[in-house]
């Protein structure tokens, strides 16, 4: 950024300007909002309902006359409605699990970094050990243990994703706690918890926001993976992973069953990745030249 810019911009203005300038990111955001809206408004967009069987149209290709916009599956269910409902599940899992990991990771990392010393070593060694585990296998173990439920997926994924978050926040905290405003807060008599909550965490949020954005597509992928294997979301709920699995089995006779859910999943993942990369460019002041 040039030093003689005519007018100083507030951080929010900088973000807004960068957003307008970054065409790919803006486009991704718009597409993502449209997909999100469509999944929420699914009942208004189609006359068919989730799980409703149309006996006259079994395994038919996309057809605008019957209003099966994406065709039907071998059980006569409308794929358009199922794709949108699946998207609702996938997006919800992605966002909620990201929040769980955000919450655990930020507090864990901030506490470890702030306290330092032995506590820090122990807490981070624990993270190192968990990090080295093949997590997909543990989540599958958990589904064997607790049965397959969507809540388990939230918790399991959130419990995995917080590790990186904790590392990032700890790193931030280590440098933040040496800063003058933290000493000032201490002198003013603030307790440890108040310092972590009011001074450390808000200042560590930049990289955290970037990581959360990038973790949402990872989580959606994770959920789809489990659902694809039949270990995730169960009937009557559906998700993109479930639909892709069903589509893959029918792809020779009915390729649309694979193509539509796969496209939705891929486009969503693309958009989220682009937004995450874009946000990193905006918020990561190190790379700003």
């Amino acid at each position: 950024m040039s030093t003689q810019s005519k007018q100083l911009l507030s951080p929010n203005q900088v973000i807004f300007k960068s957003l307008i300038n970054n065409k790919i990111m803006l486009l991704s955001l718009i597409i993502l909002i449209l997909i999100g809206l469509a999944t929420v408004l699914a009942p208004l967009l189609s006359p068919w309902e989730l799980g409703e069987v149309d006996w006259d149209n079994i395994n038919t290709a996309p057809d605008w006359v019957t209003q099966h916009y994406f065709g039907t599956d071998p059980n006569g269910r409308d794929l358009f409605v199922h794709t949108l409902h699946g998207g609702r599940t996938s997006l919800m899992v992605g966002i909620l699990a990201a929040m769980v990991s955000l919450f655990i990771g930020v507090f864990y990392g901030a506490i470890a970094g702030y306290l330092g010393g032995w506590t820090d070593t122990l807490m981070m060694r624990f993270v190192d050990v968990l990090y080295a585990l093949p997590f997909m296998f543990f989540v599958i173990l958990l589904t064997v243990y607790f049965g397959k439920s969507i809540w388990l997926i939230f918790i399991a994924i959130g419990a995995v994703e917080w590790l990186t978050m904790a590392r990032i926040v700890r790193g931030q905290t280590l440098s933040l706690k040496e800063r003058a405003f933290v000493s000032a807060a201490k002198v003013a008599g603030a307790g440890h918890f108040a310092i972590i909550r009011r001074h450390i965490i808000p200042n560590a949020l930049g990289p955290v926001i970037v990581y959360v954005t990038l973790s949402v597509p990872q989580i959606i992928l994770f959920e789809s993976f489990l659902s694809f294997l039949g270990l995730g979301v169960q009937e009557p709920m559906t998700s993109w992973g479930v639909l892709i699995n069903e589509g893959a089995q029918q792809m020779e006779s009915a390729p649309w069953l694979l193509i539509f859910p796969a496209t939705f999943l891929a486009v969503t993942l693309f958009c989220l990745n682009f937004i995450g990369d874009g946000l990193r460019d905006i918020l990561d002041t190190k790379d700003r030249t």
């Binding site: 173990l141 589904t143 064997v144 891929a266």
Partner: protein, 306 residues
């Protein structure tokens, strides 16, 4: 170097121990059992089964048995595949999973590093943009989407390659491509970023100022620091390939460990699931250890720091 090895082992061994312990208790505490059949079993037979599997002993004793057996390479009997031990099942599936994984890893390394090099040397050219767009696709689209699409295009529509089964090299092509694609993408991105960073470092300017040809600069000076991040990625890449192979084996119907694992999870085959988890965890931990050592061999700074 030896001290460094000890230090790494101090992380690797507790990790493996945590895996074994967590796997054991999770599975043992699970509700329901593999012998819950629709027809009630006569109590004498039930007692016999419990005795054979040590299910009548206290949990801690069972745990002791489990660790003892593991140390002897015995993962126990499968609860669902009768007349098979878990070790037999794993050994049966492993050659398939291994050849799939190793081929995919080599492919990913060769193509990924190659693409990354070209992209970095011709930064901002159309080639660079093409390679990076391809990498974005490879990262964003999961292999359980790529695999059926590849099978649809090359197997069903064009009819060039078989879409399933195991035995001939043609049957390996599609699974290997589908499995390695995300890794090709990640390694290409990594190599490009790393080479660009290396090329901007002062000693590169020195080499250029001395009038060295680009070929020597690249292959003698730049290659080692460029490949460091790729080498440290080998550990996570192994984990990713193993996870990916579960899906790929399912899609292409390959008789590898991944299929046993998924079937075991769906059937609640406790010992089988646990055996596969422990086996793969050990493999990943071993791979991480090897990567750490390799890293120390290549980068003297790591040896000195410890």
């Amino acid at each position: 170097m030896f001290r460094y090895l000890i230090k790494r082992l101090k992380i690797a061994i507790p990790t493996l121990f945590v895996v074994i312990t967590a796997a054991f208790f999770l599975i043992r505490l699970a509700p329901g059992g593999p012998f819950d059949t629709e027809k009630p079993i006569p109590p004498e037979i039930a007692a016999n089964i419990e005795k054979v599997y040590h299910l009548n002993e206290p949990l801690l004793v069972q745990y002791g048995y489990y660790i003892w057996n593991l140390l002897h390479g015995d993962f126990g009997l499968s609860f669902k595949y009768q007349d098979y031990t878990v070790t037999e099942l794993i050994l049966q599936g492993f050659p398939v999973s291994l050849s799939l994984g190793v081929t995919a890893m080599f492919l990913a390394l060769i193509i990924g590093i190659g693409l990354g090099f070209f992209a970095a040397i011709r930064q901002h050219s159309w080639l660079d943009h093409m390679i990076m767009s391809f990498a974005m696709i490879g990262i964003a689209i999961p292999n359980f989407v790529v695999a059926p699409l590849l099978a649809l295009i090359f197997g069903v529509l064009l009819g060039w390659l078989p879409t399933g089964g195991w035995g001939s090299w043609q049957q390996m092509i599609l699974p290997v491509i589908a499995l390695s694609l995300p890794q090709v993408a990640i390694i290409a991105r990594m190599t490009r970023a790393s080479l660009l960073e290396t090329l901007h470092s002062p000693y590169m300017d020195t080499a250029r100022a001395k009038g060295m040809p680009m070929r020597i600069i690249l292959f003698r000076h730049a290659i080692k620091p460029t490949l460091l991040p790729v080498i440290s990625w080998l550990g996570p890449a192994t984990a990713a390939l193993i996870t990916g192979s579960v899906v790929i084996e399912q899609i292409f119907g390959l008789p590898g460990i991944g299929r046993y694992f998924v079937n075991g999870a769906l059937n609640r085959d406790y010992t089988l699931v646990m055996g596969v988890v422990v086996f793969y965890a050990a493999l990943i931990i071993l791979m991480n250890l090897l990567v750490d050592l390799l890293y120390a061999v290549i980068d003297p700074r790591i040896r000195r720091d410890n």
